[in-house]
């Protein structure tokens, strides 16, 4: 894993082309909303939709959301969706997926790691990707869901994907990671997993996001806006007591090999604010 650069899959829907690019200068945006906004600024003219994860997704419990940045009639929206999508993006070896421009005809995207196949809209999503290693984004009427359940609070994503002529997306991730100090990683994972009493949701019997045991009733509806540090990581906002603790964040980052400093995280809100000013 090239730990301090960001790997981005750029998909041009108009040309039906794709390219995986590494950005060594985007590490300071950390991930999620920070990275998503910077990529939005970079690809502004293509009316992008940007899916981003943070450095802890896939590795630690309760870090289960995927950030989505898009424009709703010129207003930038940041949405967060649960389910297993963030883990599939992580296991694709990617930090972000950027959907640029508009497909000339209805299309389904079949993404496996950094490869994209453009399929006709008539294809059955169930036949795409690798079962058990995939995440499916599909439409139920006009509402977009991950795995037929998890959604976002507003319908901005559904409207934007419809505008772009996207009828569904399959994400499959087959990469594996081996943190160098695995015993330290394992200890930290178990310690964090034991902190369920620090969450702001009750345990339930609903479908759960991946890497979260709670099965809460909130996950179905996703999130919109909120704490930029939590949403750069991209943790669940209901785990904010766990992942607002700067000591916890650095323990997690360090055990994975990231070399972020306190200043990097302190400067992140300002960096995001400046990026927003540039866009507007």
């Amino acid at each position: 894993m090239e730990i301090n650069s960001k790997k981005v899959l750029l998909i041009d829907l108009a040309k039906q082309t794709f390219e995986a690019k590494s950005y060594s200068d985007l590490g300071k945006y950390v991930g999620g909303i920070g990275l998503g906004l910077k990529l939005y600024e970079t690809y502004l003219t293509t009316d992008p939709v940007i899916f981003s994860i943070g450095p802890l997704n896939g590795f630690f419990p309760f870090v289960s959301k995927t950030s989505i940045v898009l424009s709703d009639n010129g207003v930038i929206e940041d949405l967060y969706i649960g389910g297993n999508l963030s883990l599939r993006i992580r296991f694709s070896g990617l930090d972000s997926v950027v959907l640029c421009n508009k497909s000339p005809e209805p299309v389904v995207l079949d993404i496996t790691n950094t490869q994209v196949t453009f399929k006709p809209a008539s294809i059955d999503l169930d036949y795409l990707g690798l079962p058990g290693k995939r995440s499916l984004i599909s439409f139920e009427k006009e509402k977009v869901t991950v795995n037929d359940y998890f959604s976002t609070p507003d319908d901005f994503l559904g409207q934007k994907l419809a505008e772009k002529n996207i009828k569904g997306i399959s994400f499959t991730g087959t990469e594996v990671f081996k943190p160098n100090n695995f015993s330290a990683y394992e200890s930290l994972y178990q310690e964090l997993l034991s902190r369920t009493t620090g969450l702001r949701v009750e345990k339930g019997n609903y479908p759960s996001c991946s890497n979260c045991p709670m099965g809460c009733g909130k996950s179905k509806f996703g999130e919109i806006g909120g704490n930029v540090l939590i949403h750069s990581l991209v943790a669940c906002q209901y785990a904010d007591k766990v992942y607002s603790d700067i000591g916890v964040i650095f323990s997690c980052l360090n055990v994975l090999g990231y070399d972020y400093t306190h200043e990097d995280l302190e400067n992140l809100p300002k960096l995001i604010e400046n990026t927003l000013k540039q866009i507007s």
Partner: protein, 85 residues
């Protein structure tokens, strides 16, 4: 005596994949490739909730099944002791 992992409440699975990730960590890996437990999701007609279906590779029993059982929040698994001879 050794232990084997058995699924006893498949319908309780909430799809969290903690079992999958625990088994992978026991192999010092983070990811899904080569996973010895797989969670398959299927949409049910006339249901708001997708159904999860678990498959276990028998090689799982060479790991620590007790830790996999414990990490499941829905008590989907049990371990059974068997005579290793």
């Amino acid at each position: 005596m050794s232990k084997i992992l058995k699924i006893i409440k498949p319908d309780k699975c909430n799809g969290c994949e903690l079992c999958v990730l625990e088994a992978q960590r026991q192999l010092e890996t983070v990811g899904l490739e080569g996973a010895l437990i797989r969670v398959f999701r299927k949409k049910l007609e006339n249901s708001e909730y997708p159904q999860n279906h678990l498959e276990i590779d028998p090689r799982i029993n060479s790991l620590n099944p007790g830790k996999i059982k414990i990490i499941c929040p829905q008590e989907v698994f049990e371990t059974q002791e068997i005579d290793g001879n």
